[in-house]
């Protein structure tokens, strides 16, 4: 007797199911969102805002956008890194690899799920920060493109770190170090005139620099030609990091 042929699920079905499956991570991630996604940037905004109250709108806008990037880094990069390290540690990749799905669909679904999970903290920080620092928001519709475009490279970087780490603890430590470096390299939290030239140049290798620049232009303004370069670089980081993660993660041997 021949076994009847079976058809794999459509790409859309894979994307929906895998995204919903990965959204189940809210069961552990909401606590982290409250602490690292909201509390840490909020405390930063309050402290730096009070300290720089008379420094002018330009400096305050860097504090606001820098903390939006911090929230994104903790929420996207940190949590995806934890999730990938945990999935590797407990064998979840093997579970997914024995289902009739594509590897890149799992990567895309994970990035999408954690982007959705990061939104509450992101929205909170944007509005709280703007109110507390008295920075007027002039949001451009392009911000709806820029927010996912900043999340993807950071999440992919987190996923890559997660696949490199031997344990979830190691992944958390690595992510913290990378977060610290990305924030320090380039004008993310501080205006360009407050950081040494060398960091300004090295910062051009960091996706956080382009994320901060693009968010600043589309949330506060004004839009400059630099935005095109930011979008190009963020797209480059998004594609290359996602490709790197797909290659690096444990999967079937085909």
């Amino acid at each position: 007797m021949l076994l009847p042929p079976r058809n794999p699920p459509s790409f859309l079905a894979q994307l929906i199911d895998l995204t919903l499956m990965q959204l189940s991570n809210f069961r552990w991630s909401w606590r982290r969102m409250a602490i690292t996604g909201m509390l840490v940037p909020t405390a930063n905004i309050v402290m730096l805002g009070l300290f720089n109250r008379d420094s002018g709108i330009d400096t305050l806008s860097y504090i606001l956008v820098g903390n939006i990037v911090i929230s994104l880094m903790f929420e996207s990069m940190g949590k995806v890194s934890s999730n990938f390290a945990f999935m590797r540690w407990v064998g979840t990749f093997n579970y997914f690899a024995t289902l009739p799905i594509q590897r890149y669909m799992l990567v895309i679904a994970t990035l999408l799920a954690f982007a959705l999970l990061a939104l509450p903290a992101l929205i909170f920080i944007i509005f709280f920060g703007a109110w507390f620092l008295a920075v007027p928001l002039h949001a451009n519709p392009l911000v709806f493109l820029i927010i996912p475009l900043t999340m993807i490279p950071l999440s992919s970087l987190g996923a890559w770190l997660g696949t490199l780490a031997m344990t979830p603890d190691e992944s958390n430590a690595m992510t913290l170090v990378v977060t610290f470096f990305l924030l320090c390299l380039g004008p993310v939290l501080l205006p360009p005139d407050r950081i040494p030239d060398i960091l300004h140049w090295v910062g051009r290798l960091s996706p956080a620099t382009y994320a901060a620049s693009a968010l600043r232009q589309t949330l506060i303004g004004p839009i400059t030609p630099q935005l095109g370069w930011d979008i190009a670089m963020l797209t480059f980081f998004a594609i290359s990091m996602t490709w790197l993660v797909s290659k690096r993660m444990e999967w079937r041997n085909n």
Partner: protein, 303 residues
């Protein structure tokens, strides 16, 4: 139809001095219940991971339903339900979610996946754990979750890595009963690894015994037992102060005070039972060699 055709399969892990699998040759046919027995580190899990394409062989070939395993990456996941040893792999999914999504991704419609979830929750008597995640379950509950998820979507081939680990005796019996029923009703091919040779004997049709990466023997338990174990086991239980009298040529193995084990040819065993004074015996058990005896025969080095 041959489901798996394994030819000279060898696997060496990086920086490991010994081979995990050493020149294995094996065929597994459709509708078989095939058991793999072996000590820890014998290479059983490495073999089944290669069958589901999670580990790449160092050399040799595996054909799945007539085609090399790696020609179509989705062929094995569509047909095979694999249960690994680790029970935390479902991450943050609840039991109900894992059943539903697995069934749907294995090709059922959303409506049928919902029905499949309910069927499996009932079949395994795990309805009350429906909303629990693996971390909220005991080891045995996690094992049942794994079994149910592996069967979701009714894959025609099941590969199970130590399915009875962590299960209470009544749950073990239930597991073997469900697998037997699945095999009888659906013709499911079942390949499993176990340390529990006595339990497995109730379901197993063909067995492979592994040691140090090699497949020592493959065959039907009855054939293998007939080849190597011509003697029956007779266990006698008696009051220690009043042992039964045995013919002088029979030497018992003392298992305990008041408990002897005798290995006898079949005819002699029944003759001896007729000869013994029933008043000296509190109990006796006469049985042919078990799968465990067979396993020990192959893996125990000669004295």
């Amino acid at each position: 139809m041959v489901i798996y055709d394994i030819e000279h399969l060898t696997k060496r892990y990086l920086n490991q001095p010994t081979l995990a699998n050493d020149d294995l040759c094996l065929q597994i046919r459709q509708g078989e219940i095939f058991g793999l027995l072996g000590d820890n580190g014998a290479g059983k899990s490495t073999l089944v991971k290669q069958l589901v394409n999670l580990v790449h062989p160092t050399s040799g070939k595996i054909c799945f339903m007539g085609q090399p395993l790696d020609t179509n990456p989705l062929r094995v996941p569509l047909m095979v339900g694999y249960m690994p040893q680790d029970g935390l792999a479902f991450n943050s999914l609840t039991l109900g979610e894992a059943l539903y999504f697995t069934a749907h991704l294995r090709g059922l419609s959303r409506h049928d996946a919902t029905r499949e979830r309910e069927r499996l929750l009932t079949l395994w008597h795990i309805e009350k754990y429906r909303d629990r995640t693996p971390t909220q379950m005991s080891g045995g509950q996690r094992r049942l979750m794994q079994m149910a998820v592996t069967m979701a979507g009714a894959p025609p081939i099941l590969i199970l890595d130590e399915p009875t680990n962590d299960l209470a005796p009544e749950r073990r019996k239930e597991l073997w009963d469900i697998l037997r029923q699945q095999h009888r009703d659906q013709g499911t091919t079942i390949i499993f690894i176990t340390h529990d040779a006595i339990e497995a004997e109730k379901i197993i049709q063909r067995v492979g015994i592994m040691q140090n990466g090699k497949l020592l023997v493959v065959g039907k338990p009855s054939d293998l037992k007939a080849q190597v174990m011509h003697q029956w086991r007779l266990e006698l239980v008696f009051a220690p102060e009043n042992p039964p009298t045995l013919p002088p040529h029979i030497t018992p193995i003392m298992l305990d005070s008041g408990r002897w084990l005798l290995f006898l040819p079949r005819e002699e065993a029944t003759a001896l039972l007729n000869h013994l004074d029933p008043h000296t015996l509190q109990d006796f058990r006469l049985y042919s060699a078990t799968l465990e005896d067979l396993y020990l025969h192959y893996v125990t080095p000669p004295a």
